[in-house]
């Protein structure tokens, strides 16, 4: 393998263990007191990039990218503490949909010219599953989405993909966009020394306007509401009672 650069876009999302509440006026979710984390699928992408670096005899540089306000710095520090070499924060106060995320990343890729973009298959806030595919389309690069295994094959990548039909295997030329699925790896926890070391690693800040693009909104959220979930559970006492109720009451069997 030859020296390479891997770009890992990461998104800041509410911790998945937290209960999400919608603001009373339905304008969005209540972010007060909500802890944020690196999107779990993006953490898997960071981990995969680090493993590629660790398994390579050549120089591999791992660059984490975040887009957003100053708040994003702490999540970028998490990626740096895991082992990313440096980070880029594209400063942007606007709420971005996947199209505009992809357009900003497109510009970052043109500046950085990585060999590979590794990113999560979806962010667990909007659950859109779009940005990676949009970026690949904008760059006219090949893509392999929902990766559960990534291996080098000369200057190509052999990727196992999790599809509805089972595991699909594709070979993609580099440069490429790979999006990660759950079973690609288990991200490491950063050790205390590496957290301290990460404080000294550089974060380059770019105002998104410097990238020469204007935001083009594509999806407009008119309102949000909590999804009603309530069911009343009838506790049955035996297998016989369960079958009887499923037959006579629910008419489900």
């Amino acid at each position: 393998m030859t020296p390479m650069k891997i770009l890992v876009p990461t998104k800041r999302v509410p911790d998945t263990d937290q209960k999400i509440r919608v603001r009373e006026d339905g304008s969005g979710i209540d972010e007060q007191h909500l802890p944020f984390v690196v999107n779990p699928f993006d953490a898997i992408a960071v981990e995969e990039a680090l493993r590629i670096r660790e398994n390579s005899a050549d120089n591999v540089e791992v660059v984490a990218v975040g887009i957003g306000s100053d708040d994003y710095e702490s999540e970028l520090r998490t990626s740096l503490a895991m082992g990313a070499d440096r980070a880029i924060l594209v400063e942007c106060a606007e709420v971005l949909d996947p199209w505009n995320v992809a357009r900003i990343l497109d510009e970052v890729v043109k500046r950085e010219t990585p060999d590979l973009v590794l990113m999560g298959k979806q962010a667990v806030d909007d659950d859109a599953n779009q940005a990676g595919q949009f970026l690949a389309a904008l760059l006219d690069w090949p893509q392999a989405t929902f990766a559960s295994q990534v291996d080098f094959d000369e200057r190509r990548l052999r990727v196992e993909r999790e599809t509805d039909a089972g595991i699909e295997v594709v070979l993609v030329d580099l440069p490429a966009v790979i999006t990660t699925d759950l079973r690609l790896n288990e991200p490491r926890y950063a050790s205390l020394p590496s957290i301290l070391k990460a404080r000294k690693k550089p974060i380059e800040r770019i105002d998104f306007e410097q990238l020469g693009i204007a935001i083009e909104p594509r999806i407009e959220v008119l309102s949000m509401e909590s999804t009603s979930t309530g069911r009343t559970c009838v506790r049955v006492n035996s297998v016989d009672e369960l079958l009887d109720r499923l037959r006579c009451e629910a008419k489900a069997i």
Binding site: P98, D125, Q133, A137, P142, D181, I253
Partner: protein, 321 residues
């Protein structure tokens, strides 16, 4: 409004999710005035086109280079057809094929895309849609700006249309193979043949969770109960991660979304990520040894106990009848 439905098929018939997507497209076309065409891509797909023609007008893109579901080529053709035919709305069922390929096509078409749509209406002449966010905890009402619009729908939220009285026309789309991108090479797909129905298409789904200790037990208990009821098997993420079940069985936020008439959760604790994949099922049964498992809050019927003890009884009683 010109609507294009991207079909997914098994080389013989179109998948049931595509039928639901046509149901959504027909509904939008009726409400807004418009036409619906169904685009079938692949190689030697006459049977598929004929099948699709029983419910929709069909465009057939048939060539050797499209034989496998390769993202760059398929997306290129979808975007080209949408542009050339001045399509206003591209629709597909939200499956791994559509997320991968229709997502890329949407990127080529300007990125106006809504995923996993579960409801819609026409408001002031514009399409307004509902879609889940945050693992289904929130439902957002959205509309798209930009043209064309690309929508993937949850198949569980829309009914397939009844067959038309007569076959609809099939139009062949000419493909210039030399113009197709060629940077992704399809090697193979490792799918496990199963005698059971697909988990997204079955009327009854029996799912297993962490309580199942190995794949033999899963097959005997979850598979056995599914077979006794003529249903499909599903799995929680924990079992896929542990290598006990294969990924194509995973039900949940990042797996498959199901809404059968009956969902039986065996030894599944009920993490929100799992609930996101099955909470719209009509009747839900939970069997779990932990009386406080969150799964019970999502269930219509709950039975507290050991699945290793209770499920064999269930299977036996069902077989005895």
């Amino acid at each position: 409004m010109r609507i294009l439905v991207v079909a997914e098929h098994d080389r013989t018939t179109i998948r049931s999710g595509t039928r639901s997507a046509i149901g959504f497209a027909n509904s939008v076309a009726q409400q807004s005035g418009g036409t619906v065409e169904c685009l079938v891509l692949g190689h030697e797909i006459d049977h598929v086109a004929q099948d699709a023609a029983s419910i929709s007008q069909v465009l057939s893109a048939d060539c050797a280079a499209l034989a496998d579901p390769v993202a760059d080529r398929h997306a290129h053709v979808i975007a080209k057809v949408a542009t050339e035919r001045n399509v206003d709305l591209v629709v597909a069922a939200s499956t791994s094929y559509a997320k991968d390929i229709v997502g890329r096509a949407a990127g080529l078409l300007g990125g106006s895309m809504a995923s996993e749509v579960v409801g819609h209406e026409i408001r002031d002449g514009r399409l307004v849609m509902r879609r889940p966010m945050f693992a289904g905890a929130v439902t957002a009402t959205v509309r798209l700006t930009g043209h064309p619009q690309i929508v993937t729908i949850r198949a569980t939220a829309y009914q397939p249309p009844p067959p038309a009285d007569e076959k609809q026309p099939i139009t062949a789309i000419g493909i210039d193979e030399s113009a197709l991108p060629n940077h992704i090479c399809f090697e193979r797909v490792e799918s496990k043949p199963s005698h059971r129905p697909d988990v997204t298409e079955a009327g009854i789904v029996v799912s297993g969770g962490r309580a199942l200790k190995n794949s033999d037990d899963f097959e005997r208990l979850v598979g056995g109960l599914a077979d006794a009821l003529g249903g499909a098997t599903g799995s929680s993420r924990a079992l896929v991660d542990a290598g006990i079940t294969s990924n194509d069985l995973q039900v949940g936020q990042t797996g498959k979304i199901v809404a059968p008439d009956l969902y039986i959760a065996l030894g599944i604790s009920g993490a929100v990520q799992h609930l996101a994949g099955m909470k719209n099922s009509k009747v839900i049964v939970a069997i779990n040894h932990d009386p406080d498992a969150p799964m019970f809050e999502m269930a219509d019927y709950g039975l507290v106990g050991d699945v290793y003890e209770l499920v064999p009884q269930l299977i036996e009683k069902l077989h005895a009848e």
